[in-house]
């Protein structure tokens, strides 16, 4: 079986533009959930960050998909063939 036709880069840019538009729309709706600066004490804590340990997460992102053999488990896309 042949793989399907690859997407073009133009299509990729179109999708990114779409998500940008959706993001702006969602952010416009978020006014009701505004958190003031004085209420952000907990949000500044390390365990509330999107990536609490960037270095460790980066090493895992480089290692785990290659060892596990997963094609889609990480954002890592280059920097080695995993072989």
């Amino acid at each position: 079986m042949k793989p399907s036709q690859p997407f073009s880069l133009q299509q990729a840019f179109a999708w990114l533009a779409c998500i940008g538009l959706v993001s702006f729309s969602l952010s416009g709706l978020s006014g009701c959930a505004m958190v003031k600066q004085k209420d952000r004490e907990y949000l500044a804590d390390p365990i509330m960050q999107h990536t609490p340990d960037p270095q460790g997460a980066g090493m895992e992102a480089h290692n785990l998909p290659r060892r596990e053999g997963s094609a889609g488990g990480s954002a890592g896309s280059g920097g080695g063939c995993g072989c």
Binding site: V35, L43, H50, G56, A71, S77, C81
Partner: protein, 398 residues
């Protein structure tokens, strides 16, 4: 085996870091920091990987930061297919090229990355250059990223772009069977603060790869039992949509948080995958936390994956990355601070963390008529495959 130009690059990088250290120790506190990580990976076939790494940053001005990352990999089998149990002798003899894969069974790999970052009043931008070198693989990658906060910093929009210029140059019996590949990775993200204890985010990545996308190390088995070379399409476009929810809470007077990360991936080779990663962080006392983690992953097979080929197919592979499987990973992490008295010395670390993740990979049975190819990478005994990763971290506020 480390090549001469690789050794020179590595020596230059280590010298640069060494030269940086004395001056860094005289700078004002908080303007720079150094993080060391040591990772040890093992699997049930005695493949192991020692990975020391460092990350150094220095603020150049109030809005600018320079960061240098260095990683070394000392690997035994380059991947699971080289499990020493399967390829022969342990000991000194395993430092030579492996006749099955062409890769050396023990080698040192290294990667470096330099990043310049700017951040001011809710606007951030960064530019990086990455380089990595292996016995049979070289990669260069410039990348940029940027983000913008608005809605009184409750909303963050971000974007990123990276290009990888990779070259595979196999050695030994596979000399000449490599090639160039180019990977373009684009990302867009939105992060939203929903409450004083709730954050949510979504990220879309598009990854377009072209060129020589396979490698010659996993021969394909034909119906007649012969081994022939893998042949993959020379283009692939992949999409990944990730979502993250962070919910903080108070347990007694200690802060805790749940992190739920999900990721959906698909590419035009018809491979789909889903990932769910749940992590619970909990402070036990000031500065000391524990993290408990559970991650599940599942993927389907690529359109051209077969248990065996007749040799006339346009595309064929024996690489386990293109067959269906699922995995579960459980992890525990502890992090804390060293005594305050250590802070007076720049040579003593300020924080540490320790983690261990245990993974079990399960090869799934027949799916859509595709059974896994038990050959050079997987053996029936490997249907449930165990692997573990230990990580130690030390952080210095210089």
């Amino acid at each position: 085996m480390l090549k001469s130009h690789g050794r020179r690059a590595l020596a230059a990088c280590l010298a640069a870091v060494t030269l940086m250290l004395p001056s860094t120790l005289r700078a004002a506190e908080g303007d720079q920091g150094l993080d060391f990580k040591y990772m040890y990976y093992w699997d049930k076939n005695q493949v192991w990987n020692h990975t020391p790494a460092l990350s150094f940053f220095r603020k150049l001005a109030s809005s600018w930061k320079l960061q240098y990352d260095q990683e070394l990999d000392y690997v035994s089998g380059a991947s699971r297919r080289l499990g020493l149990r399967n390829v022969g002798t342990l000991g000194d003899h395993d430092q030579v090229l492996d006749g099955i894969s062409g890769a050396s069974r023990r080698e040192i790999r290294h990667s470096e990355q330099v990043t310049g970052a700017y951040s001011q009043a809710g606007r951030a931008a960064s530019a990086s250059f990455y380089f990595s070198d292996e016995n049979d693989y070289t990669s260069y990658s410039p990348s940029v990223s940027g983000s913008l906060d608005f809605n009184q910093r409750n909303t963050t929009l971000g974007g990123s772009a990276a290009v990888f210029f990779d070259n595979m140059h196999p050695t030994g019996p596979f000399t000449g069977l490599g090639g160039n590949r180019r990977i373009i990775s684009l990302g867009a993200s939105l992060s939203q603060t929903l409450s004083p204890l709730t954050l949510a985010g979504v990220t879309l990545n598009v990854i377009h790869s072209s060129g020589f996308l396979g490698h010659p190390y996993t021969p394909v088995v034909t119906d007649s039992g012969d081994d022939i070379l893998e042949n993959l399409p020379d283009r692939k476009t992949a999409w990944a949509l990730s979502g993250q929810l962070i919910q903080g809470f108070r347990l007694g007077d200690r802060l805790g948080s749940f992190h739920l990360d999900t990721r959906w991936y698909q590419d035009d080779w018809k491979l789909h995958s889903g990932t769910a990663d749940l992590q619970w962080y909990q402070y036990l006392r000031e500065g000391t936390y524990v993290r408990i983690r559970a991650r599940g992953y599942r993927q389907t097979a690529a359109a051209f994956a077969r248990p065996a080929y007749d040799g006339n197919e346009l595309y064929r592979t024996g690489d386990i990355r293109y067959y269906a499987f699922s995995s579960v990973l459980l992890g525990l992490k502890v992090g804390s601070t060293f005594p305050d008295s250590w802070a007076a010395s720049a040579w003593l670390p300020d924080r540490w963390d320790l983690s261990y993740d245990q993974g079990i990979r399960s090869t799934r049975g027949e799916e859509n008529g595709v059974t896994p190819m038990f050959h050079t990478q997987l053996f029936p005994a490997d249907e449930h495959y165990q692997e573990g990763t230990f990580m130690l971290g030390l952080s210095f506020d210089l």
